[in-house]
């Protein structure tokens, strides 16, 4: 994985000291709240319902054991013993004290981490396929490009006063595990007929109050031109964005208003200009970055067989383990969705354990996923039983990847100052309602995603079943949506009908699920059945 050079260290440490001074001035009353707020947000420090909340960037979801242990230490020393994996592959802490925040950031900097680009009108932490560098189906490891994009966007002046936040994703396979087309800008690494590597590029996606699925803006962009191309995209947006209306500032709105063809035309025009400046990366720079992501020294001649004599272990393997590109190795997914628990929450003790497992069994690598789980990317198949045993003993052995209890949920009204309704209690109740492993297996892939407000941090637009919490005359109410996907078959969920209270939405979802069971054809997933029969095929079952 990427390691800081002297410039990275200097920049992050300078930022910590700058923030220390800003915090001191705020505490002494020399800065007002209005003056200080944008400064703390540039370092990932929010003010939520109960305390300050710090969001720590995990670039493209990759971290090592030293970093994970530091995150555990921070949970203990500065928070209340736990953290929360977010839907942008980051981690956030809910109980931070402002007076301690500079020391916390200094400790993060020791392990090459920070909260920059996790808030505000910036290019947010670049996300990527959590299986990058391990996936059997990838063309190349997409992380060198994610890292290059991160470096070129972090402190670039033109990108430091954007109209609104801007989210980027990078993948390198047909399968989309990063919700690519729900991003403002996204690239899928492809190979053309000549065998050259390039980018298939997408623009104009996003969730929030006005959801749009990104359109393909280019079939093939030579990798060497990515900086010019991104500058062109951002220049067109920066120039034309509706800065007069916060709800219309995202690039997706501009793309929608200009239309795909006009947006593409303007980008191409700017692109031609940027190409003449000769600012794109030389190949040597890519090679330098890519060297950090060289494959680990995989052993050869390893056994492929897995002893499945323990049925609980076998069930976990079937659900959580994914094919690896190297013979004898596997990708092991760690569920942060134990039945009835809070999606994405992980205790300091669990962080330490996962760090130990990564160090011992996965070439010191860990990944965070946008579905709020973790991944050990490089595990020898012969070590899977030891890994599972340790996870199981720590309450992390759930076998529910992509099943009905693998629910994405934002923090909702239990923590978030923007939320209108609680999300987590719904996730917990649904998890308990569908806890039976045999029932989960029977239902197959079924992705439920819950947001506590229209900002859609819980990705409800992309849920096979989505839930949106709203405020109805001071009481929590929940809208039910069906038909969304964040995968390669991206689609936007539609509202089923009138909303429900908390008990009602749980029952309504069970009715929708049972309707699926009763009308599905062999091999059909929930989303397939929905696409075949449409909302009408579910409405009567849901509403009677």
């Amino acid at each position: 994985m990427y390691r800081y050079d002297q410039y990275d260290h200097a920049m992050v440490q300078a930022r910590v000291e700058e923030f220390r001074d800003q915090t001191r001035r705020r505490l002494e009353g020399k800065l007002t709240d209005d003056q200080f707020k944008p400064l703390r947000l540039k370092n990932g420090l929010y003010l939520q319902l109960h305390a300050y909340m710090l969001r720590v960037a995990i670039p493209y979801g990759t971290l090592n054991s030293v970093q994970m242990r530091k995150l555990a230490h921070i949970a203990r020393k500065y928070d209340r013993g736990y953290g929360h994996i977010t839907t942008r592959q980051n981690i956030q802490y809910n109980w931070i004290k402002l007076e301690e925040a500079p020391d916390l950031l200094a400790e993060l900097a020791e392990v090459e981490m920070h909260g920059i680009q996790t808030s505000g009108e910036s290019i947010r932490n670049v996300s990527a396929d959590q299986y990058a560098g391990a996936a059997a189906d990838e063309i190349i490891d997409p992380r060198p490009w994610a890292e290059m994009i991160r470096q070129m966007t972090t402190f670039m002046p033109e990108f430091s006063y954007l109209p609104r936040k801007f989210k980027i994703a990078v993948i390198a396979s047909e399968a989309d595990r990063a919700a690519l087309r729900w991003h403002d800008f996204a690239v899928r690494i492809v190979k053309n007929e000549a065998g050259e590597i390039g980018f298939e590029t997408y623009a104009g996606g996003g969730m929030g109050r006005t959801p749009f699925i990104a359109f393909k803006i280019r079939d093939f962009l030579p990798t060497s031109q990515i900086l010019s191309y991104m500058q062109a995209v951002l220049r067109v947006w920066n120039r034309n964005a509706r800065r007069d209306n916060i709800h219309k500032q995202r690039m997706k709105i501009l793309v929608h208003e200009l239309g795909e063809e006009e947006f593409r035309r303007q980008v191409e025009e700017e692109f031609e200009h940027f190409l003449t400046l000769g600012e794109d990366f030389p190949q040597a720079e890519y090679d330098r970055i890519a060297a950090y992501f060289a494959p680990p020294p995989f052993e050869t001649g390893l056994a492929e067989e897995i002893d499945r004599s323990d049925p609980a272990f076998a069930a976990w393997v079937d659900q959580q383990v994914v094919a690896h590109k190297a013979p004898g190795y596997a990708i092991a997914n760690i569920s942060l969705k134990p039945i009835g628990q809070i999606p994405g929450d992980i205790s300091a003790e669990q962080m330490d354990l996962v760090a130990d497992l990564a160090e011992r069994y996965s070439f010191d690598e860990l990944r965070a996923t946008h579905a709020q789980n973790l991944v050990l990317p490089h595990v020898r198949k012969q070590d899977l039983y030891a890994v599972w045993t340790a996870l199981h003993e720590a309450g992390l052995g759930e076998a529910n990847l992509d099943l009905v209890t693998d629910i994405i949920a934002c923090p909702g009204l239990d923590y978030c100052s923007l939320a209108n309704a609680r999300s987590i209690p719904l996730a917990q109740k649904l998890s308990e309602r569908f806890a039976d492993p045999a029932r989960q297996q029977d239902l197959g892939e079924l992705k439920i995603k819950i947001s506590g407000c229209i900002n859609a941090c819980g990705h409800h637009h992309a849920g096979n079943i989505g839930i949106l919490g709203v405020d109805r005359k001071g009481a929590e109410s929940y809208q039910l949506l069906l038909g969304g996907s964040g995968d390669e078959d991206t689609s936007q969920a539609k509202i089923a009908g009138p909303g429900f209270d908390e008990a009602g939405i749980i029952d309504a979802i069970e009715r929708a699920v049972e309707q699926y069971r009763s009308i599905r054809t062999p091999g059909e997933r929930f989303i397939d059945t929905y696409r075949r029969v449409g909302m009408d095929g579910f409405k009567e079952a849901i509403y009677g």
Binding site: E28, D33, L49, H50, A51, L98, E99, D414, R422
Partner: protein
């Protein structure tokens, strides 16, 4: 009744105006009548509280205070999904007060 709330500047903790200063217990909140603006301006200048604001609330039998909106009741109680982290971790019914 009108009560005042905000977050402690240093710690971020939820606080309520008790007539003399800021308390972490909503039960201590007092009716400020039409003095909200003046108190908030003074307290903002004193840099003790972040983002103070006035809310509607109702007095409860037994001396409690119940904020009108669920968001402020969650703030007063703590996360309903982590009763162990609230101000009343030993009271199994405290969470019902929020809803």
């Amino acid at each position: 009744m009108k009560i005042l709330t905000g977050n402690d500047l240093k710690t971020g903790a939820v606080v309520w105006w008790d007539g003399q200063g800021w308390s972490i217990h909503v039960e201590d909140a007092v009716d400020v009548g039409d003095a909200a603006e003046a108190i908030l301006a003074r307290e903002d200048a004193a840099c003790r509280v972040n983002g103070g604001y006035a809310i509607d609330a109702e007095p409860e039998a037994g001396g409690g205070v119940r904020p009108a909106h669920i968001k402020d009741r969650v703030r007063a109680y703590g996360p309903t999904v982590r009763p162990d982290l609230t101000l009343k971790p030993a009271d199994p019914n405290a969470g019902n007060w929020v809803i």
